[in-house]
């Protein structure tokens, strides 16, 4: 080796440049070593080279100094004998002091090996690129890993795509199969309006003579024009289609009528994905049969309504038809009872009377139930004496109870004796009659207790508590639950009480509840039943009995009276005539209104009894003709309406058209006589005159047009005020009624006699003070009658 190739560094310099160097002398002893190799193989200095290292390359070298130095220009690879697996790669050089120096680095290719040999990057010389190589190799490994990871991801994605594609394909197949098998016509169009899917039903519904698959891809833009001939109104079809496609809103159950009379129903379903319109689906259904069914259903419903109306009408007519014969039976029974009869005959007559009364109950029940069903039932609000009503029921039922050897007891609050209430007395009576009658019917021995109390509170609305307790057969628990159901009857094997319609308690319950009341029942089989009814009533008055009352017991003398009975039913004629003739009246009959009018042309009567329902000319029209002053003086003849029709409003209607009183068939003799007595007595008194025009004439001071105008004003305005007065009375609105009476008083003061003025003043005063309210209906009828007379007299005055 030449001197030129010898290197000359001191130990610290060489270890900085070559931290893995070591030097050997000519005895092959290691004389110095770098810091990093000492870190790897400690204590090698002063040890024998042959003990520490072995040549891997060149392996042909002899372990002599001279032999080794010959390899100065070759790559040297050494292996450590003490540290396994570590190789050193480098070269050998001669140093200036003739030692052989190995310069190189450990052959390390992975970062893990660095850690394995406890080496760090700073252990390598800065110029040494071993660690860079390690990093490069590491990077390649990382790259391979990343690529493998990406490939794995791609494989997964591919699998997912394949799975999705399979599912999509399967789903498409299923969808297609579903569409093909649907019972509706389906047409799926894409956003360019090309057919994507359709089915056989669609082709059939729209008469398209091809297979559905042949339509795929067909452009539907002209389809409206092409298929419009199928529809009954082609232009409407095209317009609707265009509108639907423009709006792109969901349309359901759109009906289309085809030219052949069939009906289709159509849905339009727009398809949006991420707010982007992708096409739409049409669904067509044939609804011809359904439409037919609907029409049939509507017809059936109409028929049912007509049938119901017919039934109601039938019941109303039947009631009329039934009430007339009942009237006759009770009338004849009454007449018969006054003749000389044997004991047996009296007994039979009693049976007829009871039977006819029962029949009357049945008819009334049916009528009431129908009215409740049709929601036509109306309640009057009239001032009435509740004590009187209760006692009336007690007195009439007492006889019935005594017949069965039952004791009927009545207990009432003193409060009821001194107070009047506003409400419907007729309906209260009906409730009481029904419940007491039931109690008597289902009780064989013992007693029936009626207890009426008024709830104590300071308000104007008080609850009347009615308790009807019997010691009868009682009601089983099972029957108790449906006791108020229609057609329900206690039907015990031990009793024979199954007579009746079974509607009684249903009617009672409805009557109570419609008046905002409640009804309850407690019962134990064999021990008896108690009904508890509570109804709210307004307390309107503290009773001060009027000083003068019209005596109802005054004997009636009709000897000089001529009465016309207008009645189509011969039996009714006979009964009425018989009742009247008994008291000396002269009677004449007319079979209908037309005959009555004929008679009135030539005859004068004191009173007319007018049936309302008659052939040829009914009672209303007849009365109108009489009151329209077509018959001279007879136009003022008092008329009593007689009818079997008990519908609400009937009475008002009679008064409105000019009748003076009202009698409901079948009537009792005393009822008829009272009406006649009232009318004839008053009529006589007022026939003189109700008007006194002296004051009016003085006001007019000879100004005839002004005088006439005042009279005309009276004639125009008064009927309206009277109607208003009556409406307010029915509502129980006493303050308003007082105002109307006051208004009327002002008008009557100009033309009326003091008596006439007094009538209206009394009404005004009673309303204002809320006193004698029970007398108001009668007072108003009288006032109205006086007004009617006044109209007539004033009209005569005007003619003058």
């Amino acid at each position: 080796m030449s001197e030129q190739n010898k290197i000359s560094f001191n130990n610290s310099e060489i270890t900085l440049l070559f931290p893995f160097y070591f030097a050997i002398n000519n005895s092959l002893k290691i004389v110095s070593a770098g810091n990093s190799i000492l870190k790897l193989i400690p204590n090698i200095v002063n040890s024998d080279f042959k003990n520490e290292f072995e040549f891997k390359r060149p392996f042909s070298v002899s372990y002599t100094f001279n032999s080794i130095q010959e390899y100065c220009n070759q790559v040297i690879i050494l292996i450590s004998k003490k540290v396994p697996d570590i190789l050193f790669r480098g070269q050998i050089l001669k140093s200036s002091n003739d030692n052989i120096i190995f310069i190189g680095s450990p052959w390390i290719t992975t970062p893990e090996d660095l850690l394995k040999f406890n080496l760090t990057i700073p252990d390598f010389a800065i110029h040494d690129s071993t660690t860079d190589m390690i990093q490069l190799i590491n990077n390649k490994e990382i790259m391979s890993k990343d690529i493998l990871s990406l490939v794995e991801n791609l494989k997964k994605q591919k699998l997912e795509i394949e799975k999705s594609e399979y599912e999509l394909k399967y789903s498409n197949k299923r969808f297609s199969a579903l569409i093909q098998n649907m019972q509706s016509g389906i047409l799926l169009e894409n956003k360019e309006r090309k057919i994507v899917l359709t089915n056989k039903i669609f082709c059939e519904l729209l008469n398209i003579p091809v297979k559905p698959e042949q339509l795929i891809g067909y452009d539907c833009k002209k389809s409206a024009e092409e298929s419009k001939h199928n529809f009954k109104n082609p232009n409407l079809f095209v317009k609707q289609l265009e509108k639907t496609l423009t709006n792109k809103d969901l349309v359901l159950n759109e009906e289309l009528e085809l030219a052949n009379g069939d009906f289709l129903e159509r849905d339009f379903v727009p398809i949006f994905s991420d707010n982007e319109y992708n096409g739409h689906l049409w669904i067509y259904r044939n609804i011809t049969q359904r439409k037919k069914n609907e029409i049939e259903l509507i017809n059936a419903k109409e028929e049912a309504i007509i049938s119901k109306k017919t039934k109601e009408q039938f019941l109303a007519n039947m009631s009329h038809e039934l009430r007339n014969p009942i009237n006759i039976i009770t009338g004849i029974t009454g007449l018969l009872a006054e003749t000389n009869l044997s004991g047996k005959q009296n007994e039979y007559l009693g049976i007829i009377k009871t039977a006819s009364e029962n029949l009357l109950y049945l008819v009334n029940d049916i009528l009431d139930f129908e009215k409740i069903q049709a929601k036509k039932i109306k309640f009057q609000i009239l001032p009435f004496d509740i004590f009187k009503v209760v006692n009336e029921v007690y007195n009439s039922m007492k006889y019935l109870a005594e017949n069965k050897n039952l004791k009927l007891n009545l207990r009432t609050d003193d409060f009821l004796k001194t107070h009047h209430v506003a409400g419907d007395p007729f309906r209260l009576k009906q409730i009481l009659f029904n419940l007491v009658n039931n109690a008597i019917k289902f009780t064989e021995s013992g007693n029936i207790d009626i207890k009426i109390t008024m709830e104590e509170n300071s308000g104007m609305i008080k609850f009347i508590n009615i308790e009807i307790k019997d010691t009868g057969i009682g009601i089983s628990e099972e029957n108790l639950t449906n006791i108020f159901n229609r057609y329900s009857q206690v039907n015990s094997e031990t009793s024979n009480f199954s007579a009746g319609t079974g509607l009684g308690l249903t009617i009672v319950k409805n009557l109570v509840e419609l008046q905002k009341g409640t009804i309850k029942v407690k019962s134990k089989e064999g021990l008896g039943t108690t009904f508890f009814v509570t109804i709210p009533y307004e307390i309107i008055e503290h009773i001060e009995k009027p000083a003068i009352q019209i005596s109802k017991s005054t004997p009636v003398d009709l000897k000089s009276k001529k009465i016309l009975v207008v009645e189509d039913d011969k039996f009714n004629q006979m009964i009425t005539n018989s009742m009247l003739e008994k008291y000396g009246a002269q009677t004449e009959t007319a079979d209908n209104g037309k005959i009555a009018l004929e008679k009135l042309k030539t005859n004068s009567y004191d009173l007319i009894l007018m049936d309302l329902q008659m052939p040829i000319l009914d009672g209303y029209k007849t009365t109108e003709a009489i009151r329209k002053n077509k018959l001279g003086t007879n136009s003022k003849t008092p008329i009593i309406a007689v009818t079997a029709n008990i519908l609400n409003g009937e009475k008002e209607k009679c008064i409105e058209i000019g009748m003076n009183a009202y009698l409901s068939k079948p009537f009792q003799e005393n009822e008829l006589l009272e009406k006649i007595k009232d009318l004839l007595v008053k009529n006589n008194a007022e026939r003189v005159s109700v008007i006194d025009l002296a004051y009016l004439k003085s006001v007019a001071s000879g100004d005839t047009p002004f005088f006439e105008k005042l009279i005309e004003e009276f004639l125009i305005q008064t009927p309206e005020i009277i109607s208003q007065l009556k409406r307010e009375m029915h509502k129980g609105d006493w303050p308003k009624m007082s105002e109307s009476a006051h208004k009327l008083k002002g008008r009557i003061s100009f033309i009326g006699t003091p008596l006439f003025i007094k009538k209206v003043t009394e009404i005004e005063s009673n309303c204002l003070k809320k006193q004698h309210l029970n007398l108001l209906p009668e007072m108003v009828t009288e006032l109205e009658f006086s007004c009617e007379l006044a109209y007539s007299e004033l009209k005569t005055e005007l003619k003058k």
Partner: protein, 181 residues
């Protein structure tokens, strides 16, 4: 920026907030890659966009997001890919940091498309030194902060990092004083 940085962001988000949050962050940032290759260069903007979107979606301040990414890179991402190499970076935190300038100079050759930052170490004391951070990119000093914190944890020493100077505040470069005990 090489993919490994973005991988760190991805890993941190998925590990702590779930895959859904990562998908939202990707959607918001407009980054539409399925996965990052560690040694492939990606535009720096991708990294910034991901960091900003993560801050918005996760409702964490951008500063804290970047610090977390730095720590996560050292402790998770770097360990997974360069675990042994990082450990060979130095016997302790001090030697690792002293070797940091050389390491990054070598990295430039290994990653030809990368412009790695440059470091200078000064004021070396027994338990502290200054790390000077020179970068052509702006706004990554908090990422650097996180990396230094992560290194402290990697060497299991209690580390304190003080920001001595910031480029964003007008300094020539960022300087962090790293102390350990």
């Amino acid at each position: 920026m090489y993919g490994i940085v973005n991988k760190a962001i991805q890993g941190l988000v998925i590990e702590n907030f779930g895959l859904d949050s990562w998908e939202k962050i990707k959607k918001q940032s407009g980054v539409s890659v399925d996965g990052f290759l560690s040694n492939e260069p990606y535009p720096d903007q991708t990294t910034f966009d991901l960091a900003i979107a993560a801050s918005e979606i996760l409702k964490i301040e951008l500063k804290d997001v970047l610090i977390s990414f730095g720590e996560y890179w050292v402790l998770k991402t770097g360990q997974e890919s360069y675990g042994a190499l990082m450990k060979a970076g130095g016997e302790n935190l001090k030697s690792f940091l002293i070797n940091l300038p050389n390491f990054h100079s070598r990295v430039m050759l290994i990653y030809p498309n990368l412009t790695p930052p440059e470091f200078k170490i000064s004021n070396i004391e027994e338990n502290s030194l200054d790390v000077h951070y020179f970068s052509t990119r702006n706004g990554l000093h908090y990422f650097m902060y996180g990396l230094l914190q992560g290194l402290g944890k990697m060497y299991k020493v209690e580390t304190k990092i003080e920001v001595k100077a910031l480029k964003t505040d007008g300094a020539y470069n960022d300087i962090f004083r790293v102390s350990w005990s």
